[in-house]
Symmetry: D3
Subunit: 186 residues, 6 copies
Amino acid sequence: MKCIILPEKFDYDGSQISSLWAYNSFGVNEDSIIVFRGACDVKIEHMIDLEDRRENESIWSEDMVSFIIEHFDSTDLKLVYARQRFFTALVREHLAGLGIHTTRGGDDLFLKEKKLTVSIASTSAVSQKIHFGINVSHEVYGNLREAGIGDDEGIVRFMQEIGEAYVKEFEDIEKDLRKSRPLGVV
Amino acid sequence: MKCIILPEKFDYDGSQISSLWAYNSFGVNEDSIIVFRGACDVKIEHMIDLEDRRENESIWSEDMVSFIIEHFDSTDLKLVYARQRFFTALVREHLAGLGIHTTRGGDDLFLKEKKLTVSIASTSAVSQKIHFGINVSHEVYGNLREAGIGDDEGIVRFMQEIGEAYVKEFEDIEKDLRKSRPLGVV
Amino acid sequence: MKCIILPEKFDYDGSQISSLWAYNSFGVNEDSIIVFRGACDVKIEHMIDLEDRRENESIWSEDMVSFIIEHFDSTDLKLVYARQRFFTALVREHLAGLGIHTTRGGDDLFLKEKKLTVSIASTSAVSQKIHFGINVSHEVYGNLREAGIGDDEGIVRFMQEIGEAYVKEFEDIEKDLRKSRPLGVV
Amino acid sequence: MKCIILPEKFDYDGSQISSLWAYNSFGVNEDSIIVFRGACDVKIEHMIDLEDRRENESIWSEDMVSFIIEHFDSTDLKLVYARQRFFTALVREHLAGLGIHTTRGGDDLFLKEKKLTVSIASTSAVSQKIHFGINVSHEVYGNLREAGIGDDEGIVRFMQEIGEAYVKEFEDIEKDLRKSRPLGVV
Amino acid sequence: MKCIILPEKFDYDGSQISSLWAYNSFGVNEDSIIVFRGACDVKIEHMIDLEDRRENESIWSEDMVSFIIEHFDSTDLKLVYARQRFFTALVREHLAGLGIHTTRGGDDLFLKEKKLTVSIASTSAVSQKIHFGINVSHEVYGNLREAGIGDDEGIVRFMQEIGEAYVKEFEDIEKDLRKSRPLGVV
Amino acid sequence: MKCIILPEKFDYDGSQISSLWAYNSFGVNEDSIIVFRGACDVKIEHMIDLEDRRENESIWSEDMVSFIIEHFDSTDLKLVYARQRFFTALVREHLAGLGIHTTRGGDDLFLKEKKLTVSIASTSAVSQKIHFGINVSHEVYGNLREAGIGDDEGIVRFMQEIGEAYVKEFEDIEKDLRKSRPLGVV
């Protein structure tokens, strides 16, 4: 599994959640986590969560760090949702390690009761994907700047450390499941 | 999904990881998390993790809280391992909420660098299961008593809150995945 | 699993077979069976059965009771077809209970050799769905009126009883499969 | 899929539910339904339904027709349970066609409120199986003799017609699912 | 599984890789391999391999034999790719049997270091498909004419023999997997 | 995926086909192909192919090269059988490259009409495995010595080249399936 941190500013408009975006954009033919920073403005046709559509929610941020995860090992909806939930907990752990206390509600993180993150997961016939975005700055919602991670260097380190941590967890899980016997039965 | 907290002391000898143990013992025919407290001494024939067998490890504790999770919705090894990893993070979150700082390494939690927990996950042809155990007291390893959760009442509350939190997360995930559109494709 | 009986007349144009229609229309984020009554006129772009398309068949009824079933627990085509076949038998059983004798040929029911029902099943990347429609009145085909269920009250009872019966069967199956040991092997 | 009617009396002791029994006994390397008639006395170690074990139920009949279905196309527990439920409805339809009115409760048929049938379904790592048994005669439970199918010839016809009907349904479903477009999405 | 050799010239424009093409065109509701000969010119919107799209590759041949395989038994991407790889080896075996030595690199065959074939595999929500094409004549690439199979009769025999060989292999595999016990465990 | 060539003589008694043998013996927690050379004498309890059991076949060779493949990415029987068939073709290709002409019948290779190889594939609840064995010398059956690969060095090279070729094919397939769009639909 590959982690790529885009060196330049890159805006998220929702099209990046499409299957094969990583291959098409960067030639990656492995499972991957692509991390980038830029504005976020999700077009209605790319909204995967119908709740957002129904409530005509805007998914908007002037400056956001985005993690785009793609796995091709299964198209099981339950699996990608378990992975999304775990990724959320992983980000929270990392923030706690930086001394930033957040609360988690499902796949959302909150900073002082203000929503800090957006996330969605789904599948196509060929892959499963997760988008997880964290506001770097935002006028209304929680954001990393307010949490004290404001300088560009800190943000880059944050992007790298989480991207690499997820790859490590994934590879570790793959190893763990290759040494367990099947269950006995009562 | 059902959460059952056993009211009496109950020892873990590893046979509880078998598929259908919850049905056989308590008549539960739902997905379930059974929580109990007692001594832990896993017999070699119930060791699921071959690493433990190879290294002739003893899985022993004089007093442990055990969570036994069983899902029948899939026998996918990847799914139960993602769930196990998420459950580990959930326990850590809960401990942090109680002011107890731990570190996580894969599916293990550590208290002041001493291993606090044991865990295993696997599947049979009919279900997937997770065992997650936390020492209440232990002469060598990390334990809840040392962490300041020593009284019986505190332990019972801990058992209940985590058991119920997992059920809530599971049901929340099941709802989330029922409102997401399939991915588009580049 | 949730059963919803729409209180108002609702026409079926085939778009209701789309994945997530129940969530989008009624906010249901469970597996569901939505039951309604109205005219039926399936547009060519919503025809799922290519046989109908090839033969330029019209799927039309002036007054039809429609059952729309959606499951998110799997996207296995074999499973949704087994469920569709079972649902057909369930409707037939119910009609027999009302003293109405029909014959079954695959997923079709016939009343005095006239086709009484239409049905289709398929999957997307996120869910599996079944449409099952029964003519209330029809100039050519078999219909409930002819079978003696003509009054509105009788139709509503019919809609409710079958909708609820399917939910009950589904939940009963889910319980049954949580108490069976894996097979031995010769 | 192959249907075999055993010409000689054959007793059911529960071992026939094991995976690969059909291959091992008759060299059948297709999906199959094997139908036979004989005494039924299920040994405790072959009881798949833990409810029977827990309640120390005896599964016994002096004369029973047994259907043993095996599919290798999937090891999905949900699928074999949907098939079992459908098979139960199929038998009921057939009995109704012979003028014998039964009621169905899950995977059980009742004749004048007396249990007429036994059934179980499960999977191993390689196949899924169903056993469905109908009493020909029984001192306590419902039975075909009481229902008026008493002569050997009638029983043989009954065995053949249901065995062949299931094969026909299975092959028909396999054809149906090969002409349906994937679902659209709202 | 059915093998159909189209008797008339038929051009491949890439739309034939779509799911259900065989049913829609020929009414085949089985797994199938459809074999035909004609020009090949794949339109950009039918290109499944994004590498071809990215590199703006033309998939063109004045005269090509095409094999279109469709299976509905699974939508597992790993399975269709294993089948594609095996089909490639099967064609190579057959060519070797005709005295034509080729080399294989993944899913490509080469004749004297010139690419002889094109191939792609993928899935939709309902089926899995493979296209495998071999140049009959080509100005740049390897082709059967150059290999000495030039006459129409020889080409027809080639189409038939490979089409039928794949059906035979498929049916043979289906039989083989119906006589193997599950694995033991260390 | 890892390839390990055992440096010492190692006998095959059938227990090596068990799931997790590679982890238990060599600590490999990846998908793997383990290659070794030694006598072959499969005990009846390790016979996976019931045809061999039924016919009381002896699987015996005084000197055999064995390939033991284990994948944990799926427990789909169809997938491991497709992989087995492909592996057989791969070995045949390799032998042809050494100037040794064999014929293939299913998963068997023949040298001058004498059976050269044995093979079996199956799954447990946690992994899928293939055993493929080639006689180095044999009094009755085809063998590599007769084919002209007699010296120890040649055998070692043969073991290495095929082991590594399979790893390369597997990794290549994994890459290929990560750049293909889902199929369109007619």
